[in-house]
């Protein structure tokens, strides 16, 4: 479903702030794979997801989604294939607009927007049902402004919006990092539910190794702009945190210490 080959990206080239963020990152995901992504701060995880989403053009390499070469497409055109949830709950929704209006925007992702109603009555009924499934009490607040929702509610809504039309690939960039532990686990459960329900192909960046092990059927680790570890199948199922730490030391050649910051267990 995703073929990202040898991605290169350098920020601020030729200046003292030059930063190689992607140095030949390659990843292939089959349809239905749910891949968790771990790696230290600055490993290039967000940059990788942004490259796939087309936030800016890559310097080198190619990206195919479902067999379509999207390397040359701008962000808004790639959006057709992608569902995205960001770390900051503010990023994924339009605060000034109503819940139903936000969902309607997502329902028209990649479609031609004309002079038909922005939200139809029929849609509202569907949205009501979808929100009911989340069990957050949002179904009775369809016309409330999204800005009034809590961070967790906004992330859950963003997830729903990302999957309202089945995306070819769902990109989740530490989407629970800004939430308190209880809300985070609720949002993670919703994530897992939606991915299973729709059989989605997904990438989920997390700084929590336990979540990375518990969720999904594939795990990759990034370091210095590359994918340095790739685990799937049975091996993924039986993975422990200790295994991961060992593997990190093996592959990166550095011992795992607190400063290598693979972050919390």
């Amino acid at each position: 479903m995703l073929n990202a080959f040898n991605l290169q990206k350098t920020f601020n080239p030729g200046t003292i702030n030059e930063k190689v963020a992607l140095a030949g990152a390659t990843l292939n995901l089959a349809e239905g794979e749910f891949c968790t992504v771990i790696g230290g701060n600055g490993a290039g995880k967000s940059t990788f997801l942004n490259a796939v989403a087309g936030v800016w053009p890559v310097d080198g390499g190619s990206i195919e989604i479902d067999g379509i070469d999207v390397t040359g497409l701008p962000e808004y055109k790639r959006a057709k294939y992608l569902g995205r949830v960001f770390q900051d709950p503010m990023t994924g929704t339009a605060a000034n607009m109503q819940i139903d209006e936000n969902m309607a925007l997502a329902a028209r992702r990649g479609k031609c927007r004309g002079l038909g109603w922005g939200v139809t009555k029929k849609e509202r009924a569907t949205y009501h049902e979808m929100l009911k499934e989340l069990d957050l009490g949002l179904e009775d607040r369809l016309t409330a402004k999204v800005g009034l929702l809590s961070g967790g509610q906004r992330q859950a809504l963003t997830l729903l919006m990302a999957t309202i039309q089945k995306p070819k690939l769902l990109l989740l960039d530490e989407h629970t990092a800004a939430l308190d532990p209880k809300t985070a686990s609720k949002v993670l459960d919703i994530t897992d539910m939606l991915i299973k329900e729709h059989g989605l192909t997904a990438m989920m960046v997390t700084h929590n190794m336990r979540d990375a092990i518990n969720y999904g059927n594939r795990l990759i680790m990034m370091n210095e702009g590359r994918v340095i570890l790739n685990i799937s199948g049975e091996e993924k199922k039986n993975l422990t945190i200790e295994d991961l730490l060992h593997k990190f030391e093996e592959v990166s050649g550095t011992e795992f210490t607190n400063d290598t910051e693979i972050l919390s267990k």
Partner: protein, 305 residues
């Protein structure tokens, strides 16, 4: 002068206020919906006046003149849009550049005359100071139509995409919205509406002046802010009500100006008064907010507990 003059003049004052209200609706699209500080408005208001005056003088009907003014305003908005989205010039500067360019362009449109009279004796006009009641009816019908159209448009798929662009461009892109296209569309519609108001204003006052747009942006903002302050009384505001209050803001602004003039304050000080009004209306909500949550108050209350 007695108060009667002020009262007799009221229909005219209302009509002029509504014309400014229509302009403010244009400004509303960029400032409030798109979150884009567009200063082209001062230029496009005068463009509307110049285009309408020249068209009417050439013997065409006022309807034709208004349509042309609308299109000319749209073109002006497109210039700002191109400067911003294609050449990456910041929003304020793009608007200022267009405004500056329009000054020369407007003079050319008006055949290099700084003032083009269009007397209601010679031409058939949409509105005129001479026929206050009739003009008031005309502008009320027009403004209601415009509000209805805007209410409809911002409820459509494209309109929603435009609103989303103003609220959260990052989210809009992720939802497949061409943010640059939406910004351009907003600028085009806004300036078209402003030029339309300029065309009305020129007919109402019987002349188109190259300087008629000076300060238009501030008046537009004044109308929006005044409208916002008074509409805060209402709890649940729907979009149409918000738009109506923008127009009310324009009317109130102009009534205020009429009173200032009636008090025989020098007309040359009008711009100063406008600036003071806008500053006041901007400052009051802020200061009120500050009074409710200030460090000084926190220190006092904290001590009590």
């Amino acid at each position: 002068m007695g108060i009667e003059t002020l009262i007799i003049g009221m229909p005219g004052t209302f009509a002029q206020g509504i014309i400014y209200g229509i302009m403010a609706l244009g400004v509303f699209i960029t400032f409030k919906v798109l979150n884009f500080a567009d200063l082209s408005v001062d230029g496009s208001f005068a463009t509307g006046g110049a285009v309408a005056a020249i068209t009417i003088i050439s013997g065409k009907s006022w309807i034709y003149a208004m349509v042309l003014a609308f299109i000319a305003g749209a073109a002006a908005g497109l210039i700002t849009a191109v400067l911003h989205t294609v050449f990456g010039i910041p929003d304020i500067l793009s608007g200022i550049l267009t405004q500056l360019a329009l000054y020369s362009i407007n003079l050319r449109i008006a055949l290099n005359q700084p003032n083009t009279p269009i007397s209601v004796d010679k031409y058939n006009l949409a509105v005129s100071l001479r026929y206050k009641g009739y003009s008031l009816t005309m502008v009320v019908i027009m403004v209601l139509l415009i509000i209805a159209l805007m209410y409809w448009f911002f409820g459509t798929e494209v309109g929603s995409a435009l609103r989303a662009t103003g609220t959260n461009p990052a989210m809009s892109k992720a939802q497949g919205i061409n943010v640059n296209l939406m910004k351009s569309l907003g600028l085009v519609l806004s300036n078209a509406l402003v030029a339309f108001a300029g065309a009305l204003s020129a007919q109402f006052n019987g002349n188109a002046d190259v300087n008629m747009g000076r300060g238009a942006i501030v008046i537009g903002l004044a109308a929006i802010i005044i409208g916002e302050v008074i509409s805060n009384i209402f709890k649940n505001r729907n979009f149409a009500v918000t738009l109506i209050f923008v127009v009310c803001g324009g009317i109130l602004y102009y009534i205020f100006m009429a009173i200032v003039l009636w008090l025989k304050m020098p007309a040359n000080d009008m711009k100063l008064f406008t600036a003071i009004i806008v500053a006041l209306f901007l400052a009051v909500p802020y200061l009120k907010n500050q009074a409710n949550s200030s460090f000084r108050k926190a220190a006092k209350e904290g001590g009590k507990k």
